[in-house]
Amino acid sequence: GAGVSQSPSNKVTEKGKDVELRCDPISGHTALYWYRQRLGQGLEFLIYFQGNSAPDKSGLPSDRFSAERTGESVSTLTIQRTQQEDSAVYLCASSLGTSGRTISYEQYFGPGTRLTVT
């Protein structure tokens, strides 16, 4: 079936504007993850959903960041009042599911959204 898809693929926004990034996981995958990758760096974990719930939001960089998931499917990551430091590639992944708070399934990544804040 189809893999993880993300939209838009590229987003250029002005400092101070809000942006919404979308992730469509693999059908049937109950767990969904958001990561951020700054240029030349590794991946930074932001948040994950088991179903529509996010057990741990402590990875979100600031209160300008929020995420939601509906219907155990699509997820949106919203960044309010964007700053230049938010410029990065935002990657989404999904997996079959978790047991309690333990991730025990292989993650599959989408192509990412490249966000540039000018």
Partner: protein
């Protein structure tokens, strides 16, 4: 939180050479994955290997969970193997990535 260290940070090989990439982690984990990030930024799953040994073509991986390390072997390297290799581990609820090994294979 759990720490993940990868070595070497950079590796340059001649086509056809073999290499070993290492991933050390600081705590027991329930999951470990190796990824290849190609020059276009796409993360490709290589192995899901919280323990044991797996092989896929020219690539193989071994995780010794009790000693908290994993190794990725690349044999007969090709120029298309170039890119960054990431190790990622999960204990509970979040996956932590190492800083990666940047591999360049020269023709």
């Amino acid at each position: 939180g759990i720490q993940v260290e990868q070595s070497p940070p950079d590796l340059i090989l001649q086509e056809g050479a073999n290499s070993t990439l290492r991933c050390n982690f600081s705590d027991s984990v329930n999951n470990l994955q190796w990824f290849h990030q190609n020059p276009w930024g796409q993360l490709i799953n290589l192995f899901y290997i919280p323990s044991g040994t797996k092989q896929n073509g020219r690539l193989s991986a071994t995780t010794v969970a009790t000693e908290r390390y994993s190794l990725l072997y690349i044999s007969s390297s090709q120029t298309t193997d170039s890119g960054v290799y990431f190790c990622a581990v999960a204990k509970e609820g979040d996956m932590r990535f190492g800083a990666g090994t940047r591999l360049t294979v020269k023709p």
